[in-house]
């Protein structure tokens, strides 16, 4: 008998044995995929404008900064401006994201690929946003390499306003229907931080020191 079988055997005995009814109950729960817990009001905001306002307020409450852009084509100029404002060089790194590669980046020095040891500025496309907590959700892959999200000292993230979900439940529904099976699904709420020295909050622990979100109006 393997360790696996011995453990499962003990669990099964204590849990009262996996009866046909129990098996069916579990199968049903894993199939129906319904939220059985209450959904808080803060995760149920109706109307795209209210959701956008909530998302921005929550993101800024966790020290992210935000800019609303009229369309994707205004992104290169907006990024150049943000870099200048932060005294960063006109250079950044991104993946193969199609929404980015088709833009005109001639005013900036861009490189593509995964994150490296020194990475002053990185750019990622979010899969969606969650108004409830002001978080963006990124999916790892060649289009948006996961290391760019953690090695960039300043991380720029782009999101469409219509991609903002009121709460976690909407995020799960979008993830399930996307068919994407990325290795990591990263919820990011603000720049990295630590309270490990005398519980004093310090921004910029191991991940980004600053996080800026461009919300593109549809």
């Amino acid at each position: 008998m393997s360790a696996r079988d011995r453990i499962l055997d003990r669990v099964r005995r204590q849990a009262g044995g996996s009866s046909a009814r129990a098996l069916q109950g579990v199968a049903q729960r894993l199939q129906s995929l319904e939220q059985t817990s209450p959904v808080p009001a803060i995760a149920s905001t109706a109307g795209p404008d209210a959701r956008l306002r909530q998302f921005i307020a929550e993101a800024e409450a966790v020290q992210a900064s935000t800019t609303v852009l009229p369309d994707f084509s205004s992104l290169p100029a907006a990024l150049a401006e943000e870099l200048r404002r932060r005294n960063l060089g006109p250079t950044f790194r991104m993946g193969t994201e199609a929404a980015f590669t088709e833009l005109d980046w001639t005013s900036l020095d861009l490189s593509q690929g995964k994150g490296r040891l020194r990475e002053p500025a990185t750019l990622s496309r979010a899969f969606l946003g969650v108004a409830e907590v002001g978080a963006v959700v990124l999916l790892s892959g060649p289009d948006n390499p996961v290391t760019l999200s953690f090695l960039g000292e300043t991380h720029f993230i782009v999101l469409r306003a219509s991609e903002i979900e009121p709460g976690f439940e909407g995020a799960w529904a979008r993830l399930r229907s996307s068919g994407r099976e990325s290795r990591t699904v990263n919820f990011i709420a603000g720049p990295s931080r630590t309270g490990d020295i005398e519980l004093t909050l310090e921004l910029g622990a191991h991940g980004p020191i600053a996080l800026h979100i461009f919300v593109v109006q549809d």
Binding site: A3, R10, A22, L30, P38, G113, F168, F187, A189, H206
Partner: protein, 501 residues
Amino acid sequence: MSAQPPVADFKNNAPEALANNMVQTAMRRAGGGFVTKRAVARDALPEFDALRDAARDLKNHTLANLDIYLERYEQAAIAAGAQVHWAETVEDAQKIVLEICERVKRGPKAVVNKGKSMISEEIDLNHALEAAGHRVIETDLGEYIIQLRGERPSHIIAPAVHVTREQVESDFRASHPQLDPSRRFPDAASLVREARSVLRGKYFEADVGITGANMLIAETGQSVIVTNEGNGDLTQSLARAHVVVASLEKIVPTLDDASTVLRLLARSATGQKSSVYTTFSSGPRRAQDPDGPEEYHVVLLDNGRSNMLGSEFEDMLRCIRCGACMNHCPVYQSVGGHAYGAVYVGPMGAVLTPSLRGVERGGQLPNASTFCGRCEAVCPMRIPLPKMMRHWREREFERGLTPGAARYGLKFWAFFARRPWLYRACASLGMRLLAWRAGSRGRFAWLPLGSGWTKHRDFPAPQGATFQSQWAAAKKKQGRAAGGGSGEGADLGGDGGGSGD
């Protein structure tokens, strides 16, 4: 330089902690920050208590069907490319991780980076890895600090809460000799910056990246980590192999269930609505991915948990390790985590430690409680912690492990408790005696046989009548007033009432 396995000798450790000025300074500075932040976060979410009920129910459902959920989780994880390992004991878990390290190392010994993981503390993983010659680097700032100091975590979410800023500075000066010795550390931020720059390069050297898991999701086969620093993500994304060490009860059925736990976890732990990073991982990097680990392993640890199922300690398996119970515990706040001499500290540690290590080795800890009940009142998973501590005390007593003095004390008390008239007569006499001895100050700075109490605070002298006689008097008065002023009885007892002058 990993710390020696802790010894659960609370009785001897607690007085040391109370006498240790550094521990006392650090605990005072950290103070009630967590308590206030949690209260603010709870008040801002009207559904908080309803979510606690729902979380309790979903975890109970999962535990009642744990065998089925474990199998479903394993299937989904393997389908996504995971290698799932089952470990019955601490030694089994160590052996599994050591074998992975031996296999994937690029040099003569493996370079192992670690994110914060209580399970890795439970299985004493650093010790085992270092004994085998591997290099282990803790990357969570708090864990890094205590690794430099050769210590153990004193809090499950703030492992270095007992260390002062000045101590961190001197540890960094000693451990980073490559840096300019004349550099200054004017604030905590400068220490964070130094740790960041020192650790940044280490992520790229790792053969193995070890993280824990806040949850395992049966629906998707994903493991979830919840962090603020980003070190857990750098650890798992830049190493050749990502190894997750997790215990059986971390399973939740679906992503929706995960959100219920997430809504409670950060609020209960730090008062945040959400931690900065919530990361769902499954399998190794995909074929097209430029980054991410080449291997993904999950070590499922039992270590006594399957035997807790169906017992009076099953409720403990709902614990999500938020630390709210210790933040609200007057005993923990007075002595800090090290006094428990155990991996898990505070009220949750007092219940879990004897379950994992046996009542012989952890049985003292359930006595480190005043039974004030704050831990249960704040527990997001509604775990009846005081009740379970009482179960352990009973077991300790039944097995004759309670120290002689305590046994005789209880017998002495039981003699009076069974004779109420004698109890009342003696209590009344004793109180008058104490009140007379205390004089006009109303407090004792020293009491015979009571130095354990009076060394750290005064003992208030009893004022007037006993609780029982005051209660009886109030009842009588209430009866006479016929429905008026029924709240009076509530102010009886306690030492906050009017002084005797």
